[in-house]
Symmetry: C2
Subunit: 223 residues, 2 copies
């Protein structure tokens, strides 16, 4: 077997980790910007998103080159295919940060003042999920993948609590409806980031075990 | 070159088209269910979504097998990689139909009666985008890809108009807030389906030209 592929796969992992770092920073910066009403932080989100997009194209190009030149098989092939998908998930997380940024700015423009404290904990959970999913990828660690999948339910619960509480506030303060609507959109965007982290964990499980658990069945089952 | 790959790629295209057909039917059925308040139509959405998920796993497995056994290159390789991504987009569209179903049921439970007529035209546009994206894929037709990209702006405008109009209604009828909130979520889910159709068109452009237009730059540019 041609083990030049090892160097290529190692480069690919490094690129994906750089991208993950950008996503983590974008999550931090958009949250800081929202809390502190700070354009400086929002500018940094935009910078991170540009970097994410650049890496997105680069990772796809690298995967294509590895498949064309090395024709990897078995675990190596599953790794490259999973990177293609993880790459998409990370890029979408960048988009979600930009969506949050737009909603946060509209929230401020509509007169929103203090972001409800539940958002801090939800952001923390999402951030942990992204970091854990990337750690699971680097270490090829099934236990970490399971942690991510478990945390997804926690984030869903957070989202439901936040949305329910915001709906009640909307009803008692219809004049501030726009403010609460933007917060609901932010909570939904955060929950979608958690979904992408879950996709990454499922991708890592596929690399390690060859099992496709996305729809509750194995890829080794009869098709 | 091993042209066994031609048969495999042809099978792969057929699988993806079957999946696209399921997505189109799911869009029709969820809309009918919403308009007619009919559980019968919602049951059919659930059936289509199950079929979509089954095909999703099958297509991924087939792509993996083609890459492992045939080691395709150039256009064939780009085609397989694009199918991996289009497969994800179609599966997510199935998820969106299920999200619309849940919101439509909550909308009815909250006392919602007639669905605003703008939804019919928005659904029609989204349906056209999905069909055109799949036609573009089958015929490998750049002009059809461009049609999809142009239509995405039309759907975005629809979503904005619908959301603005619903917000006004919410303000004048705060008691019916839940009803309008569910409709806003449905409009947002429909717009996300249009985004997935756009992703498919971008993927087809990549197969035909080798150009990655997703972030406004070419994959042949220096990295």
């Amino acid at each position: 077997m041609n083990r030049h592929v090892d160097n290529d796969l190692s480069d690919l992992k490094d690129l994906l980790l750089s991208m993950g770092g950008c996503v983590e920073r974008a999550i931090d910066e958009v949250h800081e910007g929202m809390i502190n009403k700070s354009e400086k932080h929002f500018d940094r989100v935009r910078e991170q998103e540009k970097a994410i997009n650049k890496l997105h194209s680069k990772v796809d190009k690298k995967c294509l080159r590895i498949l064309a030149r090395q024709a990897p098989v078995a675990t190596d092939l599953r790794l490259v295919l999973s990177v293609v998908k993880i790459n998409t998930d990370l890029e979408r997380m960048g988009d979600q940060c930009m969506n949050i940024l737009h909603n946060a700015r509209d929230y401020m423009a509509a007169g929103g003042s203090e972001v409800p404290k539940e958002f801090h904990e939800m952001k923390r959970q999402v951030r942990v999920m992204v970091k854990t999913a990337l750690d699971a990828f680097v270490r090829q660690d099934l236990a970490l993948c399971r942690d991510v999948l478990d945390n997804d339910d926690v984030v869903d619960d957070f989202r439901n609590q936040i949305v329910d509480s915001l709906k009640l506030k909307m009803k008692s303060n219809p004049d501030e409806m726009d403010i609460y609507l933007h917060l609901i959109m932010i909570a939904k965007n955060m929950e979608r980031m958690a979904d992408h982290a879950t996709n990454i964990a499922e991708g890592v499980i596929f690399v390690i075990t060859g099992d496709d658990i996305r729809h509750g069945r194995s890829m080794t089952e009869p098709s």
